[in-house]
Amino acid sequence: MARDPQAALVALNRFGLGARGGASGDFTSAASDPRGFVKSELGRASGALLEAPGLQSTQALAEAVFAYQDEVKRAREMAKSAAPAADAVGPQSSPTAASPQQRGLSLNKVANNIGNVAPETKPAEGNMSMAPEAAQSNAVMQPNAAKPVSQPQQPLNVIQKTYRAEALARLQRAVLADCGFTERLVAFWSNHFCISANKGELARIWAGAFEREAIRPHVFGRFADMVKAVEQHPAMLFFLDNQQSLGPDSRAGQNRKRGLNENLAREIMELHTLGVGGGYTQEDVTTLARIITGWTFAGRQGKLGAPGEFVFNANAHQPGPQTLLGKVYQDDGLAQGEAALADIARHPSTAKFIATKFVRHFIADDPPPALVARLETVFKRTDGDLKALTLALIDSDEAWSAPLTKMRNPYEFVVASGRLLARVPEDPGPYLGALNALGQPLWTPAGPNGFPDTNAAWAAPEGLKLRLDIAAQLGSKVGNTIDARELLELVAADAASGETRRTIERAESRQQALALLLMSPEFQRR
């Protein structure tokens, strides 16, 4: 096949996570067979699965949280009995209780870790906002080449540790992936069906497991299966409060004088499937809420099942048939909701909503209507086969001819930087810090609609300036051993513009050259 440098940029950036540094030869591979380069990751159905030593199941993690909470409670009670007046003693019960100052964003750390230069000590706690004199006085000098020495600080609890381990596994996968297309798909679907780790301790400890268990197995499978896995996952049930929703006429509802919570039902239709304007009414929302009452997870007592396991609680389920979107669903327990979800998942509105969002993510903020229509048709014809949908996108002409106008989102930016610098992350902290700073904290969107997916969000003035600051720090940390001119060949080769090439060549230092490369349109646009 003829060499096509422009198509290589599309393959690497629009679909992938950017060229890897070192001797990967990614640009050359992508230029000689752009579509093949992207598709090569799709061969293995299990390619999206993520397993790593130490990553645990949702149930195991639930037990860990419950044990941790018990321990905190005991410690608090002991402290109380020892000093009745002071009830603030004891381990912090919230994983988010560590103050922002303690967490300490440090772009130095970001840059160091992404570049994986000599690991260094964490900045002294709180020094992020200190004057240098103050920062200097309470910190410890470290050899530049030494291993990190832990500062006296509160040890991470099991929730924080788990979140970081899950983040690290995801980051490592993303940095090492051949093309990164699969990881892009995972990130897309994970954001589509997002939860927020800020919801609480269970959400934080489950965030990674949710993605591994509900999203990854279905990235090349059926949309309806992903919907079912997501809506029955304890993390989603917890995030959108369905474990609290009781059928008003159910035994539990009658006993406890409580009733429906529509949160999950609404978001299923509005955000996960049909989309706003997808032809459902408020009555449909309420009906779906009734249908999925009883969808919950077993609590710490384990009365309904193993703690942290999805269970159908018939005692909480609203009895009787329900009419949803004009169709009657008989009350056959769990199957009532599963049947309703299956229908919603293959609804024409869903096909249109998903096709539009998919194309918007990969191609353009204003998705080409013809391409959306084609994907919509594929979705309907294949009954929501996500592999077919994905292939239809790659095989389209638009995907390869549309200009690269989208901005990499912060996750794509930091991962692409790590890939280009050819280093495997060993500590997720700096990446997480960068994502926080850039407004895309991992698994923690502000709402159930996930992170935005347009340039208006990611090419905004403040964010772009912050991106530059991070790029400059990366440049100053690792630039002195790196020739940005060589990296430009890996990133864009002859597809690089003359202006970018000259800007990098004329940079006043290696450090500046690397920062400019990371900020160049060739690196930022996809």
Partner: protein
Amino acid sequence: MELIRTPLVTSRRQLLLAGASFAAWAYLPRFARAAEQRDPRLVVVILRGALDGLATVAPTGDPDYAGLHGAIALSADGPHPAVMLDSFFALHPSMPEFARMYQSKHATVVHAVATPYRDRSHFDGQDVLESGFAGPGRVQSGWLNRAVEALPRGERVASALAVGPTTPLVLRGAAPTVGWAPVTLPQADDDTAMRLVDLYTHRDPALASALSQGLQLEKVARGDDMKVKPGGNAATAMRQVARGAAKLMAADDGPRISALAFDGWDTHANEGGAVGRLAGLLSGLDGALAEFESGLGAHWRDTVVVVATEFGRTAKINGTEGTDHGTGTIALLAGGAVNGGRVIADWPSLKPTSLYQARDLAPTTDLRAVLKGVLADHLGIGERALATSVFPDSAVVKPMKGLVA
């Protein structure tokens, strides 16, 4: 992990600046002369981007200077008069501290100096300057690191440093180093931002507009914290890093031998003369020297600060009132241990026929001679080590005598 947007915003108002770094040898040298109560300190300051030596120490006595440097040429009169160092050379008015040190014979200038590198790439030029090798591409270790390897090693330094930045090449190598940088949210420097805006303007107008706005927001946000002026950002960084470094080096168990790197000297456009962009940078450098003097206190009398850059800039200004990459430039020495009060120069003149390749100040002194002279007389490193391990294959370049008092 936690949402930290709010503190982020506050901390940005207390910004700290990129473009300046500090690293030091992790050990105290054990000097044979310790009995003589001498405890020398050496600071090497690398100016990255190529300092315009003719604009910093101007040969106002050279009849061709004013014409070549045109609108940005310094002069001994006018509203911002340069400080005459002797009857021929004048110092930039933004460097009053250096002028004072010079008057008290604790500072000196070596002019028309250059490394052995003769092409004009920053990257390669910095490699040669910092590695100490005669040609580019040798980036495993720097001459200052190999110099300290030649010193008898004493106690390990113990001091309070927050975060070690990467070590500048000049001090990188087998000998262990420690480092420090002001810790807050570091900012990209103005020059990098300007270059990026320029690239975006040509290639990506939407990003150009967004970034320009972002930079503007930034300036407003920090407006009440510091006065923004050309070079002000970088100047503040230089001063701050020097202040911290001096404090560390003043301690009894603090580092004795260190390197700093200051970025931002690549003045292709609107370099400015007595005032302007370069003036702001020089003011920062001058401030940094003053910080070392005051911060080191009694140790200043045993201190030598060497300031060097990868190459000089064109003798004639270009079409954008700046200067392009050149060859000959200056090196500065300051400190109580410097035998100063003079400009050392085998002046080549700025006549058209004298210029290197008809454009640059011709180098007449090898920078390695200056560095060797300091290492030999200040730290007592032997000439053989200097000619082989510190500056490989440089036997023909003899250490300059008499730089240290």
